[in-house]
């Protein structure tokens, strides 16, 4: 066993994939010598060279579109969008080209889009968003959102080997966090299988990405109060493993869905709707969502904290749900 940061695990995984398959290459802004804004690709250019770790101009739409064309022609590009907020510039190519290639044209588009969502660092409203909701309802795009280093490696491997466009979320608060992992890289983790990271009978907590990380911490604290929470880490939003969620809801009857992005129109609403449709008779209380404020993420520390769901908020909501 060893201790490794989320960032380092991603880097090791990318290196392994670059070694394994010569058609895999990376593209993004400042990913070469600079090593990426969050250091994920640091040093990779030394082993793999500037053609496989390709710096680009600031051109998110073209980066996405060029990667799509290269993918359809037979390469396996992994592009980095520096902050998830910038993905809005690439939305047209991802939605109107990448997502349509297999269902409409019958062609494969093996593209991975890596990007860090999330606030908590005071970066401000255009460097802190969680925009997975923009893609969660677009048929044809898969979404993976690891909450720890081991899952990050397993999911990233699957993403790179998948022949579909995959949005891969690396929450920026997770990057420096150290995790205990085995010495070897894990095997690829299949998409569409949510993980019950902690069993419990009193309530179900559903989350992804950094909120799943926070949920684990919350569950430990709740246990000390005698509340046994079942924590489900989605791992992937698309495909969504609603079966595992429903089964848990049928057991606990009380569900708390966590989401960092603004509450209105978020993916937690989709999950709540599906639970309502499939487990209604088992629910003791309506599905509860804990999400961010319906306001752009402010920069000042106290303002930002007030707009993002905290560990304290999870505990309060969980206690109310089981009362």
């Amino acid at each position: 066993m060893r201790t490794i940061t989320f960032t380092h695990m991603l880097r090791e995984t990318l290196a392994a994939e670059l070694r394994r398959d010569p058609s895999v290459f990376l593209m993004g802004e400042d990913i070469g010598v600079y090593g990426g804004a969050f250091g994920v690709t640091r040093g990779l250019i030394d082993e793999f060279g500037p053609e496989r770790v390709r710096d680009t101009p600031i051109s998110e739409q073209a980066i996405a579109g060029i990667a799509i064309g290269a993918a359809v022609a037979g390469q396996r590009p992994v592009i980095e969008i520096m902050f998830m907020d910038f993905i809005t510039l690439a939305v047209d190519q991802l939605v109107n080209m990448a997502a349509k290639l297999h269902p409409i044209y019958g062609l494969q588009c093996p593209l991975v889009i890596r990007t860090p969502p999330g606030g908590g660092r005071g970066y401000g409203a255009t460097h802190s968003q969680s925009l997975e909701r923009l893609f969660a309802g677009v048929p044809g795009i898969k979404i993976a959102a690891p909450s720890n280093a081991l899952d990050a490696s397993g999911l990233l491997q699957t993403a790179i080997r998948d022949n579909n466009p995959v949005l891969f979320l690396e929450h920026k608060l997770l990057y420096p966090h150290r995790f205990e992992v085995p010495d070897e890289l894990p095997s690829p983790i299949p998409f569409g299988h949510a993980k019950i990271v902690r069993q419990g009978e009193d309530l179900t907590i559903v989350a992804w990405s950094h909120m799943a990380f926070a949920a684990r911490q919350a569950a430990a604290k709740l246990a000390a109060e005698g509340i046994e929470a079942e924590v489900i880490d989605l791992l992937t939003l698309s495909p969504l493993d609603i079966g595992t969620i429903v089964e848990s809801a049928q057991t606990t009857g009380r569900v708390l869905v966590l989401e960092e992005g603004p509450k209105t129109g978020g993916f937690s609403a989709e999950i709540a709707a599906q639970i309502m449709e499939q487990a209604h008779d088992y629910l003791e209380k309506p599905v509860r969502r804990l999400a961010g404020a319906d306001f752009p993420v402010p920069s000042a520390k106290n303002l930002e904290a007030a707009c993002l769901p905290s560990l304290h908020d999870i505990l309060v909501n969980a206690r109310e749900l089981v009362s």
Binding site: F25, E51, T56, P57, S59, Q61, A62, A64, G65, I66, A67, I68, G69, A70, A71, V72, A73, G74, Q75, D92, Q93, N96, M97, K100, H102, P103, I104, Y105, G106, L107, Q108, C109, P139, G140, K142, N163, N164
Partner: protein, 314 residues
């Protein structure tokens, strides 16, 4: 591709497009389509200068490019009829057809949407060292999209083997090039990217073919991407049902005198390659091909909605 074959292809495209306009009016096909009547010399002139290994992307106005590249008129027509035998099994319609077997990567219906795609196919060619040229068709309107500029900048920086073909047909829907494009020519925009830009008479098959051949040779030899602006005129409206209130009937009548088909026929006649009788035969044969394509489409089965269920992901 010899001149007679090129002429035959131009006729095929013309009659295909005319058939579509008729079929819409008759209510026999639904949805929308954007015909390229008057622009056949661009499509066939470019195709004539390419090799089988080359790749091509197009725009919403892409039937001509697709047919010139070697598409089967029956399968293309069937796609417009929404049949299972269509290139996209009825799912894509006019604007969303691809056929990698002939290196054709179509369009997606977003103006300029394929410009970065073509640039990416060229990147793949560069990575493989395959010598494959990618031709990227787009119009005057698309040259105003941000991704046009982003893509040309990157193609020039990375010296990608792509030929951007700006089909300047005078109009972006109802907006004339005069009112839409700030530079006098789209080819002028290449200076900003350190890229070769040329303009050519897009209604002259031979001029287009020769210009493409020269630029293609340069691109294949590693000189980097280039842009060829083909000056033509969109004789049809933007899409079906366009009342064309933004231009005069006099302007159109003038443009019809410059019809690339008439110019091709005149050229071939003066070269002694075609007689009037041969022209009539060629036209009749092309019309027969299109009629057969329509029959094939009408006899093809409708796609089954159940087939959609498991096809979202590869």
């Amino acid at each position: 591709m010899d001149a007679l074959k090129a002429y035959s292809l131009m006729l095929t495209i013309r009659f295909f497009e005319e058939a579509i306009e008729r079929l819409f009016l008759e209510g026999r096909i639904m949805g929308t389509a954007h015909t390229c009547i008057g622009q056949e010399a661009v499509a066939v002139g470019v195709a004539a200068a390419l090799e089988p290994r080359d790749a091509m992307t197009t725009t919403h106005r892409g039937h001509g490019h697709f047919l010139a590249r070697g598409a089967d008129a029956g399968r293309a027509m069937a796609e417009l009829f929404g049949r299972e035998t269509g290139y996209s099994r009825g799912r894509g319609g006019s604007q969303m057809m691809m056929d990698p077997a002939i290196g054709f990567y179509g369009a997606n219906g977003i103006t300029g949407g394929s410009i970065p795609f073509a640039t990416g196919v060229a990147l793949d060619a560069k990575i493989r060292g395959s010598g494959r040229l990618t031709v990227c068709f787009f119009g005057d309107g698309a040259s105003n999209q941000g991704l046009f500029h982003e893509s040309l900048n990157i193609a020039a920086l990375w010296r990608l083997p792509v030929l951007y073909v700006a089909e300047n047909n005078g109009y972006a829907m109802s907006t004339s090039t005069r009112r839409g494009v700030a530079s006098a020519h789209i080819a002028d925009r290449t200076a900003a990217y350190g890229m070769t830009g040329r303009s050519v008479d897009g209604n002259d098959f031979f001029a287009v073919r020769d210009a493409v051949a020269a630029l293609a040779a340069d691109i294949r030899s590693g000189k980097g991407p280039a842009l060829l602006e083909c000056l033509t005129y969109r004789l049809s409206g933007h899409s079906r049902g366009d009342p064309r209130v933004y231009r005069t009937r006099e302007e159109e009548a003038d443009a019809w005198k410059n019809d690339p088909l008439l110019r091709m026929e005149a050229h071939l006649k003066s070269d002694g390659l075609l007689s009037d009788a041969a022209i009539a035969d060629a036209r009749r044969d092309a019309q027969a091909r299109i009629d057969a394509a329509v029959r094939f489409s009408e006899e093809s089965p409708l796609p089954d909605p159940a087939s959609l269920r498991n096809d979202l992901f590869a």
